[in-house]
């Protein structure tokens, strides 16, 4: 097949726990020239979206995995021919029928291993034939005459990794309408399709250049593995009632749904709360704010103070910064701190991680938080930015809530919730030692912990110490 000098583009390993990725966009098409390190395609993993640079210079000879398809790490995605070598090779490489054959082969290979995949959010491996030869194959394939695929149907198909040919159409001349494909997706057809309908496109031909899934490692998958297709498959045909509307779940939404469910199924969630008098923090923050902004362009947020104090406190509570791994308790001498960041107008959530926060002072913490939150919103996070956290802080207080029971980010042991700073009447002692009511800025903190590892007493002590650090904050200490 490909000339010996051809360069293979493979699905990169985008982080230790990422085992597969979805092609979201090819930035270069077949026949286009690409330079080494120039962005060649965009991929979406269960962690982040990113661009993949070309491994070499030349002409994109063949694209083997289409947009919307999900493949394992190491799968060959495209072939780049070094300049000059492309013409004869390309002709030889794309006879019409092998393309469909290849699709069938591809669909079969991953389907056997697919059950273990911990990422139901990503579209399943996609048997859609490569687009360049596809029309030819469709026409030559007298049995299933393919009709026009409308733009919206094409888009939904690519978003969900559905082969439109597998959907039965109710439109004019059997055309697949938007409703048809949405119903197909809703009914979980996308998952099931790899088995039943395969026979249709399979024409006898020499198996040609199947992408090499064999090359991928068996399954790194450290995270627990739920039965992937179940929740979607059982959803059946969803017909909206009057007044209802139905939309498909985004990949991120599915990821969140799966993770939240799995976390609640894994950990024994318990939440304790404590009230913190933030007077000192408020005063110090007021003082530092203009200095930080003027000198460093960074806002010392309450979150930065709380994060700094939390890291400090975690040093004394390694279990809260730890993890249950099998029947062992794992603790560390570092804190990789995750921050829950809302994106997409509150309709998405990502938890970027600041590594080695034990080495950051208040300024460093403030800077790291603002950097990572910004990159999260700009979709500039790298896969390793969102994994390896040892403890997480979530800050739903921005909207004024004063209490909550967050869900632990697995496989961590606990998550800290910070809430709105609110002025409250507060009983304090005046300088004569008498009780008086003062107006104080109060913040509630919650610690939600995995009771399998952390008991209430330990959590209580942790919160007490954290409060103590915040209430007695000394500017010079941090």
């Amino acid at each position: 097949m490909a000339t010996t000098s051809a360069i293979d583009v493979v699905m990169p390993q985008m982080g230790v726990s990422v085992s597969e990725g979805t092609i979201t966009k090819w930035l270069k098409q077949e026949g286009e020239t690409v330079e080494a390190d120039e962005s060649l395609l965009e991929i979406s993993t269960d962690k982040v979206d990113t661009e993949v640079p070309s491994p070499g210079s030349g002409i994109v000879q063949q694209i083997l995995v289409q947009e919307g398809e999900t493949v394992e790490v190491g799968t060959k995605l495209a072939v780049i021919a070094p300049e000059g070598a492309e013409a004869p090779a390309a002709a030889e490489e794309t006879p019409p029928e092998p393309a469909t054959q290849q699709a069938a082969a591809e669909a079969e290979a991953p389907s056997s291993s697919e059950g273990e995949t911990p990422t139901p959010e990503a579209a399943p491996p996609e048997p859609t034939p490569a687009p360049a030869p596809a029309p030819v194959a469709a026409e030559g394939n007298g049995g299933g005459e393919k009709t026009f695929v409308s733009p919206v149907v094409a888009r939904i198909a690519s978003e969900h990794g559905v082969d439109v040919g597998q959907v039965s159409g109710t439109g004019r001349g059997g055309r697949v309408t938007k409703k048809d494909i949405l119903a197909f997706v809703e009914s979980g057809g996308a998952q099931q399709q790899e088995q039943p309908q395969e026979a249709a496109p399979a024409a006898p031909a020499e198996p040609q250049a199947p992408p090499e899934p064999a090359q991928a490692p068996p399954k790194p998958a450290p995270a627990a593995a739920p039965a992937a297709p179940q929740p979607v498959a059982q959803a059946q045909q969803i017909e909206p009632e009057a007044g209802e509307s139905v939309e498909p779940m985004s990949a991120m939404r599915r990821g969140i749904a799966e993770h939240m469910r799995r976390s609640l199924d894994t950990s024994a969630h318990v939440t304790s709360a404590i009230e913190v008098d933030m007077s000192r923090v408020v005063a110090i923050r007021k003082k530092l704010k203009s200095e930080y902004q003027k000198s460093y362009g960074v806002n010392p947020t309450y979150l930065a103070f709380v994060a700094r104090a939390t890291v400090e406190t975690l040093r004394d509570y390694p279990w809260i910064n730890g993890e249950l791994r099998g029947d062992r308790i794992v603790t560390r001498n570092y804190v990789h701190l995750g921050f829950a960041v809302e994106i997409a107008d509150g309709k998405g959530l990502i938890v970027p991680v600041v590594r080695h926060t034990e080495g950051l002072n208040l300024l460093g913490m403030a800077r790291a938080i603002s950097d990572i939150a910004q990159r999260a919103r700009d979709k500039k996070l790298l896969p390793d930015d969102v994994q390896g956290g040892t403890f997480t802080i979530t800050n739903p207080g921005g909207y004024g809530t004063f209490h909550g029971t967050p869900v632990i980010s697995q496989p961590q042991a606990a998550i800290l919730g910070t809430y709105a700073v609110v002025k409250r009447p507060w009983v304090i002692q005046d300088d004569r030692g008498e009780d008086v009511i003062a107006i104080r800025p109060i913040m509630n903190l919650t610690l939600t912990y995995d009771h399998r590892l952390v008991d209430g007493a330990l959590a209580g002590r942790f919160l007490r110490d954290l409060r103590e650090k915040l209430e007695s904050w000394e500017e010079s200490n941090y």
């Binding site: 409308s150 919206v152 888009r155 439109g171 309408t177």
Partner: protein, 321 residues
């Protein structure tokens, strides 16, 4: 309250609250206007605020432009929208461009009784909104309901730009609905979702909103759920609302009473093709009048102006695709 009464009341309310507002047009004073929109106005506001103009649209719009530049807020009535072509130069060359040339606002409102359906023939039945929608500097308003007729008129009079207010003659006395008594302004560029539906979006304005509604009611029985977006104003037009509806239904009919070629429906269709291509599940359909003058014969006029049956057929075609 009728559509006509709503216009009349809205105009009276503006004249009562704002002394700069005056009315000028052919027969608007003693006679109360060809359609009686300004009936009783001269008695209430006097001949200097309700001015009977000579038979010259050029003079009317030219005079309004001068008065507007000097700080007044004139409301001109064209007896029929068709006659506005005589005032083209003043509107398009002077009024529309004055603000760009000299920075002076030109707050004119021109009321334009438009549309057919009563055998008015080629000089008394046209819908020339698209010609003016093409002119930067003019605003184009096409109310479809009594409530909007009043609210949009108030907004037009207070707007600092020349506003062409197309009032549909066919709706004048046929359309009745509740209209709030107090003064209110209906914002420009904000479409009204006339009817919610899932299968096909009909983008339209003016009298065709009601034609579409009748068709939609019939189609409900056939299981086709139609969404009707009433644009209310063409300049500015609510692109967002249209694109939102398109992304919901993925099938679109653009309907207007004006002729097809160069009609504003083409602008909407082009925008959908540009900005919502990946939302489409079928070809967009335009329903409009054929490219001829409006016929006088009642039979031919019926064949000319889009009727409920035409809209039914168009929506079915798109729905079945």
């Amino acid at each position: 309250m009728t559509y006509l009464q709503a216009i009349s009341d809205g105009l009276r309310q503006e004249m009562r609250r704002d002394k700069r507002v005056f009315v000028i047009g052919e027969d608007v004073g003693v006679y109360g206007g060809a359609f009686k929109v300004t009936l009783g106005f001269q008695e209430e506001f006097g001949p200097w605020r309700v001015i009977d103009a000579p038979l010259s649209e050029t003079a009317i719009v030219g005079g309004c432009t001068g008065a507007a530049i000097m700080g007044m807020r004139p409301v001109a009535e064209m007896q029929f929208a068709d006659f506005i072509s005589c005032a083209w130069d003043h509107l398009v060359t002077v009024a529309a461009k004055q603000r760009w040339r000299a920075g002076t606002p030109v707050p004119i409102t021109v009321r334009l009784p438009s549309g057919g359906g009563f055998s008015g023939g080629p000089f008394h039945s046209q819908n020339p909104e698209s010609s003016f929608a093409h002119i930067p500097g003019l605003k184009v308003i096409c109310p479809a309901t009594p409530e909007d007729a009043k609210g949009l008129l108030a907004t037009a009079i207070q707007d600092p730009n020349p506003c062409l207010y197309f009032e549909h003659k066919h709706l004048y006395r046929r359309l009745k609905a509740e209209v709030p008594e107090e003064r209110y302004e209906t914002p420009f560029g904000k479409a009204r979702l006339h009817r919610e539906g899932d299968d096909v979006s009909v983008i339209t304005w003016g009298a065709m909103v009601h034609t579409a509604e009748e068709a939609a009611q019939q189609l409900e029985g056939e299981g086709i759920s139609v969404e009707i977006v009433d644009l209310r104003t063409l300049i500015p037009w609510d692109k967002q609302a249209v694109l939102q509806s398109v992304s919901k239904t993925s099938k679109v009919v653009v309907l207007h009473e004006d002729t097809m070629t160069g009609g504003f429906g083409g602008e909407i269709a082009a925008t959908i093709a540009e900005e919502a291509f990946e939302d489409l599940d079928g070809p967009l359909k335009r329903i409009a009048a054929p490219d001829t003058p409006v016929p006088f014969s009642p039979v031919l006029e019926k064949a000319y102006i889009p009727q409920v049956d035409d809209v039914l057929a168009g929506i079915r075609e798109v729905a079945e695709y």
